[in-house]
Symmetry: C2
Subunit: 234 residues, 2 copies
C-alpha cells in the first residue's frame, strides 16, 4: 500500500534528482542560458516531452535549481560560521560567512551567475517571491542579518550617518522587529560585498587587470573596523 506507493514516489524523486543534476551539469558547462530540456532528455535517454511529467516547464526547473543553489550556498556559509566553534563572536562569524560566500561563488561561477545575475526570462518571479521568509533567497539573507542583530543588541553597531534611516522603516517587512539600524548596516554591507562579487563574476573589472580579492577583503576589513569590540567578559 503506502510502502509500494513509496517505492514509486522514491523512483520519481530519483528521476527528479537526476534531471536537476544534469541541468546543473549543463549550467556549469555552458552557462545559465544553455540549460536545455532536450539536452537533458538526451543525456537521460529519454524524450524531452517526458520531462513535462516532472516539471511543468523549463522555467520551473530553473527555479527549482535556484532554490537548491541558494540552499547549498547557505549551508556552506553556515558551516564556515559553525567551524569557528560555539562561542565565536559575531564579527568573525560574519567574516567567515562572507569569505565562504566569495569562495563558493568563485568555485561555482555558473551557479553564482544564475542566482546573483539578472533573472532569466520566465524566472523573474523567483526573486519577487522572495518576500516569503521561507524562500531560499530570504533564508540565505537572514543568516547575515542574525549576527548583525546580535551586534546591535550588544550596542556594538555603529550609526551609519550617511544612510537615510527614514526611508528604511518599511524595509524587511517580514522581520517587523528588526531595528532600522540593523537594516541599514545589513543593506549597505550586503550591497558592498555583492558589488565586488558581481563585478568579479560578470567580468566588469577585467579591463582594470586588478586582483579583486583585496577589494573584497577591504570591504570586510572596513566593516569589521566599524564595529565596536566586544565588551571584555568578567
Amino acid at each position: 500500500m503506502s510502502d509500494t506507493s513509496h517505492r514509486r514516489e522514491r523512483l520519481r524523486e530519483r528521476t527528479v534528482t537526476e534531471i536537476k543534476e544534469l541541468a546543473r551539469a549543463q549550467l556549469v558547462a555552458a552557462g545559465p542560458a544553455s540549460i536545455s530540456l532536450r539536452a537533458i532528455a538526451r543525456d537521460m535517454g529519454m524524450t524531452a516531452a517526458a520531462l513535462y511529467r516532472y516539471f511543468p516547464a523549463l522555467d520551473a526547473l530553473v527555479i527549482d535549481l535556484c532554490t537548491d543553489l541558494y540552499g547549498e550556498l547557505r549551508q556552506a556559509c553556515e558551516a564556515a560560521r559553525d567551524a569557528l566553534g560555539p562561542g565565536a563572536d559575531a564579527v568573525p562569524r560574519l567574516v567567515a560567512m562572507a569569505r565562504e560566500l566569495r569562495r563558493w561563488a568563485l568555485d561555482h561561477r555558473a551557479e553564482a551567475t544564475l542566482i546573483f545575475g539578472p533573472p532569466l526570462p520566465g524566472v523573474e518571479q523567483f526573486h519577487e517571491l522572495c518576500v516569503d521568509l521561507e524562500h531560499a533567497g530570504a533564508r540565505f539573507g537572514v543568516i547575515f542579518i542574525e549576527p548583525m542583530t546580535e551586534l546591535w543588541r550588544d550596542g556594538r553597531l555603529p550609526a551609519l550617518g550617511h544612510v537615510d534611516l527614514a526611508h528604511l522603516d518599511r524595509a524587511l517587512p517580514n522581520l517587523p522587529d528588526l531595528p532600522v539600524e540593523v537594516a541599514a548596516v545589513f543593506l549597505t554591507s550586503w550591497t558592498r560585498l555583492y558589488g565586488v562579487l558581481a563585478a568579479e563574476l560578470f567580468d566588469q573589472l577585467s579591463w582594470t587587470g586588478v586582483d579583486t580579492e583585496p577589494l573584497f577583503e577591504a570591504e570586510i576589513a572596513f566593516f569589521s573596523a566599524q564595529v565596536k569590540p566586544p565588551s571584555v567578559a568578567r
Copy 2:
C-alpha cells in the same frame, strides 16, 4: 566614382543603423536574451540570411550594441557633469555623474542589464577586450578616474587604510601614471556604486522591500564625506 560609392556606403550605414535600432527595440521589449536575427529581419521585411551581409554573426551585433550603449551612457554622464559649468569642483562632478549613471540605468533597464550583467554567450570577449583604452567600456570608466586623479593631485584624496595597496600596483596597466591611491579609491567607489545598481537591476533586493535610492545616495554621501574640502581660493 567615389560619389556613387559614397551613396552605397551611406545606404549601407543606414541599414546597419536600422538593424541596431530594431535590435535595441527587441532588447527593451524582452531582454538581452531575446535579441533575434530572424525577428529583426522580419521587422525589416527581409530574410535573416541578408543580415549576414552586415554582421558576421549575432554576437557581433550584440557587441556593437554594447559599444553604442556604453557610448550613450558615457555621453549622458559627461553631459550631467558639464551641466555644472566649467569651474565645477571634482566632487560635485563625480556626484552628478554617479546620479546620472543610476538614472540612465533605471530608465534603460534592459540596456543596463546587457552591459552591466553577465556577458551573453559569445559576448564574453567584449569585456575582455576592454583592456584597450579605446574600448567603449574603458572610456566610460575613465571619466570617473579623471576627477579622482584631480582630487589626488590637489591632495584631497583620503588614504583608504583598509585597501591593500601592494596588490594594486599592476592595476590599470594602460594608465601607467595612475597613482595606486587613485586606483584604490576608484575601484572601491565603483564597486560600491555598482553593487547598489546591480542589486537593483537584477532584483536582488526585492525581498527586502526596500527603496534602493537612499542606499545609492548613502554611498555617494559616504564618498563625498571622505574627500577633503577644496582649499579656498585667494
